[in-house]
């Protein structure tokens, strides 16, 4: 994986020193909160519901064992013994003290990490496929291109004050595991008819209060021009994106309002101009980066045999492991969704254990997934049972990947100052209620957001839940039919909302109806798409269970 060069390290170290001085000036009174707030946000430090919250960047979700271990140590040394892995492949700490924040950044810098551009109207952490470099179906490892975006976008002077925040994702497989088309720019590395590799650009997607699926803007950009094309996309947005209304400031609104044809025309014009300016990073730099993402030293001829005699282990293999490009290896997902647990939370001990297991069994490498789980990308099948036993003892052996218990949930009103309703308690109740049926239900992506900002990706859930504030009382809207993959779709609201217990009953009725109606091999989403909203709605709001939109016995 990528290792900082002297420029990277100097840049991050300088930022730590800058922030240390800014904190000192805030604490001694020479800087007001109004002056300090944008500076702390540029370093990922928010003031949340109960305390300062620090969001640490995990570029394209890739971590080394040493970095993961540091994340666990930070949880103990500066926080309350746990961290929260987010839907943007980052980690957040909820109980940070202002005077210690510079020390945390220094500790992070010592393992080539930072919190730069995890807030503010800039290009945020670039996300990617959690199986990058391991997936059997990828054309190339997308991470060198994500890393090049990181280097290009870090402190980019032209894009530090965009109309609004900007999120990019890069994938290199036909199967989209990164919700690519729900980003401001989604880049898919593709092969053209001539057999050359390049990038398809999808621009103007996103969730939030106005969810949109990014349209394809250009089918093929040569790989040696993809930063230039990205710059053109950003320039047009920066020029015309609305700064008068934050709710209409994202690029998705611009692309929608002027139309993808006009937006594309302007991008092409800008792209042609930029090509004359020679802004593309040297090929040698990309090659230097690519060399650092070379495959680890896989054991040739490693056995594909697996002893499935332990049924719990066999279930975990079936649910949580995916085929690896290298024979004899597998990519294993560690679920951070135990039954009744808090989605995405891990204790400091669990974080350090995962670091140790990555060191021992996955060539020192881990990934954070946008579904708030952790992946060990390169596990030899011969080691898998030993690995699973170690995980299981630590409460990390839950076998529920992409099942109804693998719930994405934002921190919600328990932690977040923007939230309108709590997400986590709903996730916990659903996890417990549906656990007995989980295997029978099969794949079902359930996603919960505590407000319209959609950090919990509710628009993209096969079942989505949106928490709203109804006259000071938590209320939950139910959505069906969202999907984040290659066949991306947005969920539709079923009807009147529910209270906290009512939403649990409503989801259960939806899953029961699916089980009764599904045909051979259908996932929940397939059955919903075949039957449509109406029968599901009738089941959810059946007269004996709901009265006037409120649960009677939910």
């Amino acid at each position: 994986m990528y290792q900082y060069d002297s420029y990277d390290q100097a840049l991050v170290d300088a930022r730590v020193a800058d922030f240390r001085d800014q904190v000192r000036r805030r604490l001694d009174g020479s800087m007001s909160e109004e002056q300090f707030r944008p500076l702390r946000l540029m370093n990922g430090l928010y003031l949340q519901l109960h305390a300062y919250m620090l969001r640490v960047a995990v570029p394209y979700g890739t971590l080394s064992s040493a970095q993961m271990r540091m994340l666990g140590d930070i949880a103990d040394k500066y926080d309350r013994g746990y961290g929260h892995f987010t839907t943007r492949q980052n980690i957040q700490y909820n109980w940070i003290k202002l005077d210690e924040a510079p020390d945390i950044l220094a500790d992070l810098a010592s393992v080539e990490m930072h919190a730069i551009q995890t807030s503010g109207n800039c290009i945020r952490n670039t996300t990617s496929d959690q199986y990058a470099g391991a997936a059997a179906d990828e054309l190339v490892d997308p991470r060198p291109y994500a890393e090049l975006i990181r280097q290009w976008s870090t402190f980019h002077p032209e894009f530090s004050y965009l109309p609004r925040k900007f999120k990019m994702a890069v994938i290199a497989s036909e199967t989209d595991r990164a919700a690519m088309r729900l980003h401001d720019i989604g880049v898919q590395i593709v092969r053209n008819a001539a057999g050359e590799l390049g990038c398809a650009f999808y621009v103007g997607g996103g969730m939030g209060r106005t969810p949109m699926i990014a349209p394809l803007i250009r089918e093929f950009v040569p790989l040696d021009q993809f930063i230039t094309y990205s710059e053109a996309c950003l320039r047009v947005y920066n020029r015309h994106g609305r700064r008068d209304n934050k709710y209409k400031a994202r690029i998705k609104i611009l692309v929608h309002e002027i139309g993808k044809e006009e937006y594309s025309r302007q991008v092409e014009e800008e792209f042609a101009h930029l090509l004359t300016q020679g802004i593309e990073p040297p090929t040698a730099e990309l090659e230097r980066i690519k060399a650092q993402f070379a495959d680890p030293a896989f054991e040739a001829g490693a056995s594909d045999a697996l002893d499935r005699s332990d049924p719990d282990f066999a279930l975990w293999i079936d649910n949580n492991c995916v085929t690896h490009k290298q024979p004899g290896y597998i990519a294993a997902t560690i679920s951070l969704k135990p039954v009744g647990g808090i989605p995405g939370d891990a204790s400091s001990d669990q974080i350090r254990l995962m670091a140790d297991l990555a060191r021992d069994y996955s060539f020192d490498e881990l990934r954070v997934t946008h579904a708030q789980n952790i992946v060990l990308p390169h596990v030899k099948k011969a080691d898998l049972y030993t690995l699973w036993q170690a995980l299981d003892v630590a409460g990390l052996g839950t076998a529920n990947l992409d099942q109804v218990g693998d719930i994405i949930a934002c921190p919600g009103l328990d932690y977040c100052s923007l939230a309108n309703a709590r997400s986590i308690p709903v996730a916990q109740k659903l996890s417990e209620r549906l656990a007995p049926k989980q295997q029978e239900i099969g794949e079902l992506k359930l996603k919960i957001s505590g407000c319209i900002n959609a950090c919990g990706h509710h628009h993209a859930g096969h079942i989505g839940i949106l928490g709203v504030d109804r006259k000071g009382v938590e209320n939950y809207q139910l959505l069906l039919g969202g999907c984040e993959g290659a066949d991306t779709s947005l969920g539709q609201i079923t009807g009147p909302g529910f209270d906290e217990d009512g939403i649990v009953g409503a989801v259960e009725r939806a899953t029961d109806y699916y089980l009764a109606q599904r045909e051979n091999g259908e996932r929940f989403l397939d059955t919903y798409r075949r039957l449509g909203m109406t029968p599901f709605k009738e089941a959810i709001y059946a007269p004996n269970s709901v009265k006037n939109g409120e649960p009677a016995n939910g």
Binding site: L27, E33, L47, H50, A51, K97, L98, L413
Partner: protein, 98 residues
């Protein structure tokens, strides 16, 4: 009643104006009446609090209770981690929020 809340500059902890200084406990809150904005401006300038603001609350039999659920959660702590809240020994503390 009107009460005044904000966050401690150094720790970020939720604090409540008790009439003389800032307390971690909402039960200590003073009714600031019409003076909340003036107190907030003075305390903010003195760096004893960050971003103070006035909220509605009521004096219930169990003590002072903010009107809005968000403020009740601020007063208690995360309902899903009562061990980290201000009432770690009270298993039913979360019910106070709802």
């Amino acid at each position: 009643m009107k009460i005044l809340t904000g966050n401690d500059l150094q720790s970020g902890a939720v604090t409540w104006w008790d009439g003389a200084t800032w307390s971690l406990h909402v039960e200590d809150s003073a009714d600031v009446g019409e003076h909340g904005e003036d107190i907030a401006a003075r305390e903010n300038a003195a760096r004893r609090v960050v971003s103070p603001y006035v909220i509605d609350a009521e004096q219930s039999p169990d003590g002072i209770r903010p009107a809005h659920i968000k403020e009740r959660i601020r007063a208690l702590g995360p309902t899903v981690r009562l061990d980290l809240s201000l009432k770690p020994a009270d298993a039913d503390a979360g019910m106070w929020v709802i």
